[in-house]
């Protein structure tokens, strides 16, 4: 679509003359402003949802990048052999960053708090420990467990990170849900503005005919409607965003180490994100009115 002398910038700064050719309608203006304000208010919360769950997902994901442990309990003669096999399996397991068997000294250090420094570790059936460091993607612990059972029957994967992964996924999904809600809000805003623009065009058919009679092109006529709805929507969205941010700032401050509910809201530069709402709403109004108006004008001969 060609946008000549009809950009969103021109629309916002003015050409009031074009605007004036359409009679002002108080009711329509109020409704548009109210709808835009309500949608912007909701958008602020959708952004907050995305932003909070995004932070949560990031934090949990970074905690996941930790170690898992494999315990090998076997009759004394087989421990060394099974440890070698476990390390072989781990070397070919996707998602495993590195793996190494703990030395006797390290194991002793781990047990020291319980049994004191003089523990004759070699003489006891203490399981051999293997430390596994995951890559970011993590490994498939069920698959690994199965392979270990085949290769080294005495090996048990102690996957203490497993319970966290679904949480990270849930947080991620919530973040996408936030984006989805934003999309819905934009589409709904577009639909409302389109309906309002169509109603305004229908109510002003006589004006449109008159403008045509004196040589007005479609873009000139459309501009009058576009400017009006864009400005109204922008104002409404500013009000709605202001209220939304105000309410957010009254919520208890989010602390990264606390749970989900207290973390709901913005932190740091995230507070700037709602600033995007009014221009975004204006852009949605601009395009919906423009498309609705030009389409309707095409049908009017």
């Amino acid at each position: 679509m060609k946008v000549t002398r009809f950009g969103i910038f021109t629309v916002l700064i003015g050409d009031r003359r074009a605007d004036r050719v359409v009679p002002p309608s108080r009711g329509m203006a109020r409704l548009t402003e109210f709808s835009a304000a309500a949608m912007a208010f909701l958008a602020v919360f959708a952004i907050a949802l995305s932003s909070a769950t995004g932070r949560l997902a990031d934090r949990w994901a970074s905690e996941l990048a930790r170690t898992a442990t494999i315990r090998i309990s076997a009759p004394p003669g087989q421990v060394e052999e099974q440890t070698r096999r476990v390390l072989e399996v781990l070397a070919t397991t996707p998602g495993v960053g590195s793996a190494r068997a703990l030395t006797a000294e390290e194991q002793r250090a781990l047990l020291e708090p319980w049994f004191g420094p003089d523990l004759p570790i070699a003489a006891l059936p203490v399981p051999q420990l293997v430390e596994v460091v995951e890559t970011g993607a993590g490994f498939d612990s069920d698959g690994l467990q199965l392979r270990l059972r085949g290769e080294a029957p005495g090996a048990i994967l102690d996957d203490h990170t497993r319970w966290r992964r679904p949480l990270v996924q849930a947080a991620d999904r919530l973040r996408w849900l936030g984006f989805f809600v934003m999309g819905l809000i934009s589409l709904t805003t577009g639909a409302i503005i389109t309906l309002a623009a169509q109603a305004a065009m229908a109510a002003n058919e006589k004006v449109i005919r008159t403008l045509r009679l004196v040589g007005a092109r479609d873009v000139f006529i459309a501009r009058a409607f576009v400017r009006r709805f864009t400005v109204r929507t922008f104002l409404g969205a500013c009000i709605g965003t202001g209220l939304g941010v105000g309410v957010m700032s009254l919520l208890p401050p989010g602390d990264a180490d606390q749970g989900f509910l207290t973390g709901f809201g913005f932190s740091g530069t995230d507070w700037l994100l709602p600033l995007l709402v009014p221009p975004l709403a204006a852009a949605v109004a601009f395009w919906s009115t423009r498309i609705a108006a030009l389409r309707r004008l095409k049908g009017l001969t």
């Binding site: 074009a18 050719v21 009679p23 004006v207 005919r209 008159t210 045509r212 004196v214 040589g215 092109r217």
Partner: protein, 226 residues
Amino acid sequence: MIELEDISYSYGKGPDLLSGVSLSLSPGGFYFLTGPSGAGKSTFLKLCYGELIAPKGTVSLFGRDVRDMTRDDIARLRRRIGVVHQDCQFVDHLSVTENIAMPITAAGQDPGAATRDIKELLAWIGLSAKADALPPHLSGGERQRVALARAVIMSPDVIIADEPTGNVDWEMSLRLMRLLTELNRMGKTIVLATHDLTLIRTMKQQVSARVLRIKDSRVALAGADL
């Protein structure tokens, strides 16, 4: 300038209102269009400025077939053809001055530059006092005068006026006609529909006007029998 070739026109499925009309209006001409009420005068004029498009025959304006024109082309064409619609058609919430300036505004130009022209026109049509009035508050004759002022403000090549003197007194009629003859002397083409045969006879003594008459769905040049 305005050429019609074998034009037929009817509204909906009705009988042909106009049929087999071939006609050429030459630049600088002064044309009266007359005929009984309901004969199709307004319809004929609408065909001449592209508000209606005939399904049969061709209308070419300034050498271009209207059927080949986009809506934008027609819009630009209207800037070269000033039109007084039979029911005037104003933007009701704008003042008389703003309505007269509307062709300038619609063309994307600054109407401020034409302030003096508008004042002079308003004085000529006797409506200086109504410069800020709204069209719905005007009398029928006042509306016609404002519509005429709007039609001529851009100094178009062609002025098409549908009954511009239908509601004004004789003196004002002559005054409006003087405006049109003045423009005609400047080379503008004038097409004017009217019932008023007295007006036509009077004007024929002042300008070399031709009279077109619609009768039995044909448009023909009237002879000396008027």
